[in-house]
Amino acid sequence: MSTLLAHGTYPRAILHIDGDAFFASCEQSRDPALRGKPVITGAERDIASSMSYEAKALGITRAMRLHEIRKICPDVIVLPSDYETYSLLSKRFFDIVRRFTPDVEEYGIDECFADITGWQRPLRTNYHMMAERIQEDLRRELGFTFSIGLASTKVLAKAGSKWKKPYGLTAIPNREIPTYLAELPVGNVWGIGPRTTDTLVRLGIRTALDLARSDDARLDPFLSKPFKEIRSELRGIPALPFLAGNRSAHASVQKMKTFTPASNDPRFVFAQLAKNIESACMRARQYGLEAGKMLILLRTQTFEHQAVEIHLTCPTNFAHELLTVAKSSFDTLFSPGTFYRATMVTLLDLRTPDRQPDLFGASLKIEGFRRIYESIDAVRAKYGKHTIHFGPSFDAHHSPRHIGSRGDVPERMRHLIKGESIRRHLNIPMFVGEVD
């Protein structure tokens, strides 16, 4: 398989559908005053987390600091993130795609894979037209655009959706793979990071086509399994599993919160971390999953990161257990005198509980804790997360996260409809702006 790639068109038909500037588009689609203007979201984090195409055109890039952005473009409209609205729209995005096929892999808040293999006949159409219809339904009903890649593997579909943006539809049938891959630098292939790119370039592999056509025997010693899978996918032969359902939401649970002003008070910073741990555990319990690993990360004021990964001898989703292990790691991570601005926890290696009866009564104790957490979760779901929490997170639960102008609240939260409370809102996104 040194020169030949797969033949034909689509032995399988995979779409990758990717929101165009998703958060900024959510904002522009509901407020006509923002249309045609540079808009960024992320005011509360002091960085751009999403930029409208008008903002991108001015050279604003992701994670750029707000004060840098204002230097380039004083007129830019900076909005606080309204994750509630983005999540509602994200769910609608997946639901619309599911009208066409049940096999949808939610890969992130703004992207998904859809396996439409075999649906062209019952729906009396072809794959390309199905992609067009999905794209059109999304635009008409949600009010903003998505880019789509159509190919026979996930890696190729992903390359397709990036090919032309915004509102692009790029189909890569198997027989045309070489044309596309010849123009695709190997480092831009989904899943190939900078380190692997360096290795590959040193081996004379510059484009995705070079990788697809590479001699297996020559390259294999340098490639680990995931990269062999990517190579196979580039050749049009599926190697990655298609995981219908919202896998991404479950593969790991991550909670990160920024706070201002930055703090060098270990108690306060740990309180922030503790709050994240409690929230992440609650989410894991909702999914019925336990973490085998936990990653904790502290971000300093100068955007440096200190992180540690903790392997748990016994998988858990109990906050009190994770808080105990997190505390000792935190003490080694935290350096006095450094100011921190954010903490993050990621629960990894999630799995369904596998409990065996044991001799020493531990399973009884676990069952007891399970019930306690069930009650805690019920109370928190009904009355809000601030009602019950552990001692260490007190400071984080009972002080504003952002002091000063950065305590920006999204428009939707500032203006409640009669009958809504701060904690609970109608689950329908709102248009904002003036109406006459």
């Binding site: 006509p32 005053a33 609608r92 339904d137 009903e141 409809i417 003036e434 109406v435």
Partner: protein
């Protein structure tokens, strides 16, 4: 009013009979006479118990084997319970509720395309839409004559009646104090109003 009563059951015996069924579901066997007396009818009288069982046997809901022990019959499992009748008043029967819809379903047609908007101006006053009202709007539908639509005009939302004739599209307010809008260029109709909600 439609009163749903199971054909075979009398008001008196229904609940104790249900209890026999739950007993069976739980224990996978039929109760003894004594168990019926003590745990189901909660009485001291074996005579009353026997009368109760006799009636169920008569109705074909349970049977007896040769030794007189109770057996489930086809009727025992086959009775479709459509609702309880208590003190002569029918309680809501599940069967009937299947044909009802929630307020959400009634108000919202295409869920994925539905958004909310709070009304701020007086321009649709005579259509009964007032400032502070919440309207539900649906995106992506072709507007028809007479629909109330949300359009984007000069970077603002406007809510008006939609009218299309030989001269083109016009947006008509439901308030004489406002002017009719006749867009010269292409007009962007963003959504169609499907409901108005006013909560007091």
């Amino acid at each position: 009013m439609l009163i749903v009563i199971c054909s075979l059951l009398t008001i008196m015996s229904e609940i104790p009979f249900e209890n026999i069924r739950s007993f069976f579901d739980e224990k996978k066997r039929m109760p003894t006479y004594r168990e019926i007396r003590d745990d189901i009818l909660h009485t001291a009288s074996m005579k009353q118990t026997k009368r109760f069982v006799d009636r169920l046997v008569e109705d074909g809901l349970i049977g007896r084997d040769r030794t007189g022990k109770l057996l489930p019959t086809e009727g025992f499992f086959g009775v479709r319970r459509l609702g309880y009748v208590e003190a002569g008043f029918p309680s809501p029967a599940e069967e009937e509720l299947l044909d009802t819809m929630t307020l959400d379903e009634w108000l919202i047609g295409n869920r994925e395309a539905t958004f909310m908007l709070e009304v701020k101006g007086e321009s649709m006053r005579d259509a009964g839409i007032r400032p502070g009202d919440t309207v539900l709007v649906e995106r992506g539908r072709e507007p028809k004559d007479g629909d109330i639509v949300i359009a984007e005009v000069d970077h603002k939302w406007t809510m008006k009646y939609y009218k299309k004739d030989r001269q083109g599209v016009s947006l008509i307010p439901a308030n004489p104090a406002f002017k009719i809008i006749r867009p010269k260029e292409e007009l962007r109709i963003e959504a169609i109003v499907t409901a108005v909600i006013r909560k007091y």
